[in-house]
Amino acid sequence: MQKIGVFVCHCGTNIAATVDVEQVAQALGKEPGVVMAVHYQYMCSQSGQDMIKDAIKEKGLTGVVICSCSPRMHEATFRKAAASVGMNPFMVEIANIREQCSWIHKDRQEATQKAIALGRAAIAKVHLNAPLTAGETPVAKKALVIGGGIAGIQAALDIAEAGFEVDIVEKEPTIGGKMTQLDKTFPTLDCAACILTPKMVECAQNDKIHILSYSEVTKVKGFVGNFDVTIRRKARYVNEDKCTGCGLCTQKCPQKKIPNAFNLNMDMRRAIYIPFAQAVPKVATIDPDHCKMLTSGKCGLCATVCTAGAIDYKQKDKFIEQKYGAIVVATGFNPIKADAFNELGYNQSKDVVTSLEYERLMNAAGPTDGTLLRPSDGKHPKTIVFVQCVGSRDTTCRGKEYCSKICCMYTAKHAMLTREKYPDTDVYVFYIDVRTPGKGFDEFYRRAVEQYGVHYIKGQVGKVSPLSDGTLEVQASDLLMDEQLKIKADMVVLAVAMEADKTARPLATMLTASMDTNDFFTEAHPKLRPVESPTAGIFLAGACQGPKDIPDTVAQAGAAASKVIGLLVKNNLKGNPCVAHCNENMCNGCSSCEHVCAYGAITYVAKEFKMPDRTIAIRRVAQVNPAVCQGCGACTVTCPSGAMDLQGFSNREIMAEVDAICL
């Protein structure tokens, strides 16, 4: 018989206001095997934990039941406390009488009865609990960063700084991400390239960092400390080691009418290209869809002009396998397509552009060499209208229901830079709310209004119609003046919403990392563990977790890196002992468990068994790799013969809990 101690927590008024904690302690004290039952204001506090420790020592408890908040919150705290005085931590059970009871009930009597029932279930389980010991697994001392934008770059640099090897996998030919396409950055108006390209170069020169650009992750197996990752290195048709980045091929290629994605298709590039002058790695890439040599076998000019002999039309995609201890996800974002917003005329006029396109139009390395020109006729625009919240805070199927966070600031930046460079322009910003909750952000927006004379008008734009004279009629409401405006504009700039990169969803599936409905990665705890995924060993940086500006992204990337370093410095990781276990005498070798195991933890082996008639039979039985098993329990419910059981959550333990509640 166990000697069980029951500790009921008030959680301030969180529990005690709805649950009669004294009554709970009294009722549970009468349960078989319970030698003491007390209640206390904050069980998780130091004195609360000391109370548990003292009781274990003085009363010689063999099991502990804590009626408190969710085990997600404090299970580790209480198990640690118990372990510190010599009790096996897996002899501690938690009855969640906060989330599952006090928070969802109003009636005190009902809530109290339920809390008692939950406590009884936990006691019934402790009776059957067995001490468990966690196994240890070694840690591969290398990190993988998926995504080479500013988030990935910063995380990689910080991890490398601590002395660990890092691989950056980037799907584009160069690292740098969206930030490379920006002109200036708010709120200090630094030139984006001036602060980003040195970091890109630092990545390339750091011998701990390996940039795998033009590559993607195709398969992830394993678990924290031991991820086996398969990376597809897409064929560049250029030998990365030989190419010097001289750019001669990109000048000679006869295929020159290919929309340049880097400049958002506002100008043309060749079939062999280097995305931009400061690309890292600075090597050429052949676009296989447009290269004449690759599509029809008739050209080969780049190979003739290349003095380094780097062109290789026969190159094939390569798959490489690497082992990593931790993975940082930094897949970033994309602006949503403006095509669905018919009323704003994006598809009808070239002079209606998105903010990222405007960014290129202002950029010295952009399609207009930094002079702001109307895309339709190359003339200098006089009146420019900015429309905020295009698709943000939008619950229709066209938009995203969340606030995209950065648009207020970059629109203020665009408006300010436009007025500074071209004081003869009239600049209007139509806003719903101006949201500037960052350091120096509101001052920045006020400068746009007060110093640069940008007209901020509260009200969403209803319609943009192209007129026959080449201008755009912007119909909008001024909600504060209560009037409808019709502005003749030369250009309209749409601050479109931000969405997670489309590669995020399949990647999350590979990593078994969870996502929200908007395809942003979810953090383990929104406040206390903001840079970790709930899946151990997977860390998050940047806009893959939600809309974020550069300062926030860099801060989060640094935080993710520090978590990675904290993991990689360990030589061994303690595993979770709550893993599946096969009772070989009962296993009939049906393979059902092997099929449902999402982690590939189950294999089958042929084993000799002594039969009752003293003969020897060879039977096929399941074997669980405890290092790979995540304890999800899918195999235990699938097993037709009941041979699979989850340690710490055995069928007997679960049934005892059910019985305690129902009988």
Partner: protein, 129 residues
């Protein structure tokens, strides 16, 4: 006596519009093709219903100047559907006015070449349940 709470509940009941979804962007009014002829504009309908100022809306000519083009419904990013509130306000006025169906002997005076027959049929049907 007007009870703003009751009237508001009635409007919400008829229109099935949840005015609390509005984020005050004004895109409905920005879109309205008959803005200048409306005393109260679509976004004001939403705000005024929320505040329970239904009587003001019922007394306003706006309920007849609305073209029922549904542009405000189409463009609203939050699916608030202001035109449904305007229609509901019209209905409130109609219901308050009570039975006003057409009598056969009134038809002769109303007949003209432009009048569609459906108009007569629907006028007969109104409030005859």
């Amino acid at each position: 006596m007007d009870d703003p709470k009751k009237m508001k509940a009635q409007i919400e009941d008829i229109s099935h519009v949840d005015v609390r979804k509005c984020m005050r962007c004004g895109k409905c009014s920005a879109t309205c093709p008959n803005y200048d002829d409306m005393e109260y504009h679509p976004h004001q309908f939403v705000c005024m219903v929320e505040k329970g100022e239904i009587r003001k809306l019922m007394d306003s000519n706006s309920i007849y100047t609305c073209l029922s083009c549904f542009a405000c419904i189409e463009r609203c990013p939050r699916q608030v559907e202001p035109a449904k509130l305007i229609e509901a306000t019209r209905l409130m006025v109609e219901r308050e006015r009570g039975a006003n169906h057409l009598k056969p002997d009134m038809i002769v005076q109303k007949l003209d070449d432009q009048l569609p027959q459906q108009a007569l049929a629907s006028a007969f049907r109104k409030y005859t349940k």
